[in-house]
């Protein structure tokens, strides 16, 4: 994918663009807010990474301006330690995701890929399918290889999110924000326990696992090939 990085800190920008390039993506780096706005408006990108604090024009203004002119490019907002959790402000300005520095590259990459492949559907899916795992949204029934799986509400939501992002790495933080709706740093990896439970229900008795752990990053739901 083509990624536009609007970030005035050279080291962070370097870190991001190197990582992106190594993952097979194209990254363009702009260090100035005004230039960033211009570049974003005049060129096509799959996704933008925008820092909040920029010279001349700040990140949120850039996004607001782009949205106002009809530019829908997904934007991930980077924020420095000073504005911890100004998430709401960032999302209201038109941002699509929010990441606080310092961050792990794997987190950034996972979120970018989610942003990239977000399908802008107005109609909600009535059914999701990953491999032989099927989820019927209307009846709230989950089956795998035809066998019914009994899930508790929270497990259902967890599986739904993973299925909607099939093949994408989902970090624990993303799960917290989207499945539990809290911005939260757990002491223990309590999410792991929920995932294990889910795994026991959808993977254990079946021949091929579809819920995988990516060490140091998170989880991915993927039908084995």
């Amino acid at each position: 994918m083509r990624v536009l990085i609007i970030e005035d800190d050279a080291e962070v920008a370097n870190f991001i663009s190197k990582g992106l390039q190594e993952s097979g993506h194209l990254a363009l780096h702009v260090a100035d807010g005004k230039e960033g706005l211009f570049t974003a408006a005049s060129d096509e990108f799959d996704v933008m990474i925008v820092d909040r604090m920029l010279p001349h024009v700040d990140g949120l203004t850039i996004i607001q301006t782009l949205r106002a002119s009809g530019n829908d490019t997904p934007a991930l907002i980077l924020s420095a330690l000073g504005d911890l959790n100004d998430r709401v402000k960032g999302l209201k300005a038109g941002g699509d995701d929010y990441l606080v520095k310092p961050f792990a590259f794997s987190e950034l990459l996972a979120r970018l890929e989610v942003l990239l492949r977000r399908i802008r559907n107005t109609a909600p899916d009535t059914a999701l399918r990953v491999g032989d795992l099927e989820m019927d949204m209307l009846s709230r029934r989950v089956t795998r290889a035809g066998r019914h799986i009994d899930l508790q509400p929270r497990e259902f939501r967890l599986l739904e999110y993973l299925m909607k992002h099939e093949g994408q790495v989902i970090t624990r933080t993303m799960l917290f924000e989207n499945v539990w709706d809290y911005h939260f740093d757990p002491l223990t990896n309590v999410i792991d326990v929920h995932i294990s439970r889910l795994r026991r229900k959808i993977d254990k008795d079946f021949d091929r696992p579809i819920l995988h752990t990516i060490r140091g990053a998170g989880y991915v739901l993927r039908a084995a090939d």
Binding site: V100, P102, A104, L187, H194, R197, G216
Partner: protein, 461 residues
């Protein structure tokens, strides 16, 4: 106490105040003295007039019983009495011809057209046959005769002059005394304040032990000195605390950083095969993630402590948040065969920060799960109490001894028993910070056995 003020007099606020007061005071005294002088003058003048009037009255009383040719005699007799020897008089006939008297010249002012009326006072005027001043009046007698009677001024003037010079002297003395007093007072105030300034300067150069001396008089200076000294004490305590916390943080972060560094160093060893290397790198990344988490937690605590998040408070239901926490941790407890139960009220609405409260409750429950043995019981509850809403987590662990109950909220503090368990030691610190931000009270109690952790939120009255 030094007499000479260490700052230029005009700069001193006290001196300017005293000068202002001196001027005001002197003007007031001057006004009083002027009033006194004028009153004295008026009194003396009235006395003069009274005396003249008395003599005139004697004359006019007897006029009707004496033929007109005897009037000069009567008038002379009256005015030449010994007690009237300071009076002047003159009698003029209807043609303004001088008949007799001590005034040699008729005073110049228009002849009245009126007929004589008893006690008809003309306007008092100063008539001045040189060289003396007199104060006299004109009395119309029957048949057009005019009598002028008055009194010399010189005695009165002499008296008035003495009074005036005394008053001026007094005024001058007042001014001098006031100025001297003002300078003395300024000197005293300024030198007292200099003591405060000296200590401030010393503290600023780094000597936190300096304190302002008090004189034991219990006056406003001593009270101010006492308060400032207590403030310096408080600053000393805070600075020590900051130092202690940063020392702790540095000490506790060194360990995981060292571990990380060691792992990376080991990686340099080429003897490891690719898989081992990969595993080591992954663990190194985990270590750094752990460090980043610790730093984030520290920053979060600092942010909560700064109070800035209070501006984002919104209405929320504590019961909902607690239920979410329960639901999140229930699988973890189940894995350890622990029985975790929750008892809630229907709603417990307060103003607060949803994420912070979730984090705080989660830390409380996480701790409970960690410290409760396998198969133990954990009770989460939210209930209405007298002064508010209380959220409690009761576990079946080893509890916290009363001595440690205050220290557990320090950054990086680990109790002996938990020293080997995973954790950064920041969990409870954040809980305490969140509680304080919301004005809630924390209590650590004995669950017999175990810990009873209670956080009480106060209802706004």
């Amino acid at each position: 106490m030094s007499f000479v003020p260490p700052i230029k007099l005009p700069r001193s606020a006290t001196f300017r105040l005293t000068i202002f007061y001196i001027v005001l005071f002197t003007l007031s005294v001057g006004a009083i003295f002027v009033f006194m002088g004028l009153s004295a003058n008026r009194y003396l003048r009235l006395e003069d007039e009274e005396k003249v009037d008395l003599a005139v009255m004697r004359v006019t009383e007897n006029l009707n019983s004496v033929p007109s040719r005897d009037w000069p005699q009567l008038i002379r007799q009256t005015f030449e009495r010994p007690e009237n020897n300071d009076l002047v008089f003159a009698l003029f006939d209807q043609n303004q011809r001088f008949i007799l008297g001590t005034m040699t010249q008729p005073p110049r002012y228009p002849k009245a057209e009126d007929t004589w009326r008893r006690l008809d006072y003309a306007v008092y005027e100063d008539i001045s046959p040189s060289p003396e001043h007199v104060r006299a009046k004109r009395i119309l007698l029957p048949a057009g005769y005019e009598l002028f009677a008055g009194r010399q001024d010189d005695q009165r003037n002499a008296v008035f002059d003495v009074i005036l010079s005394q008053l001026l002297g007094g005024l001058l003395l007042t001014g001098i005394l006031a100025t001297v007093g003002g300078v003395l007072m300024t000197g005293s105030v300024v030198s007292r304040l200099e003591a405060f300034n000296d200590v401030s300067r010393e503290v600023m150069t780094g000597n936190l032990a300096a304190r302002i001396p008090t004189k034991g008089a219990g006056d406003e200076y001593d009270r101010l000195a006492g308060n400032l000294n207590r403030m310096l004490d408080q600053i000393g305590i805070l600075m020590n605390e900051v130092k202690r916390v940063s020392d702790n943080i540095a000490h506790d972060l060194r360990t995981p950083l060292t571990r990380l560094r060691n792992r990376l160093e080991q990686l340099l060893d080429d003897r490891h095969d690719r898989n081992t290397q990969r595993a080591m790198i992954e663990r190194a990344i985990e270590d750094s993630n752990g460090l980043l988490d610790t730093f984030n937690a520290l920053l979060r605590i600092a942010e909560v402590n700064s109070g800035s998040r209070r501006s984002r408070f919104a209405e929320l239901d504590l019961a909902d948040i607690l239920r979410d926490v329960y639901e999140l941790y229930e699988p973890l407890a189940a894995e350890r065969n622990q029985e975790m139960s929750i008892s809630t009220v229907d709603s417990a609405v307060i103003r607060g920060d949803k994420d912070l409260l979730f984090q705080a409750f989660a830390n409380m429950v996480d701790n409970a799960i960690k410290h409760t043995p396998e198969g133990g019981e954990i009770k989460i509850a939210i209930r209405d109490v007298d002064d508010g809403i209380s959220v409690s987590v009761a576990d079946a662990g080893h509890g916290i001894s009363p001595e440690e109950r205050k220290a557990v909220f320090d950054r990086f503090y680990r109790t002996e028993e938990s020293r080997t368990t995973p954790g950064s030691g920041l969990g409870l610190t954040l809980v305490a910070a969140v509680a304080e931000l919301h004005g809630a009270r924390i209590e650590l109690g004995d669950n017999e056995p175990g810990l009873l952790f209670t956080m009480t939120f106060f209802k706004r009255a």
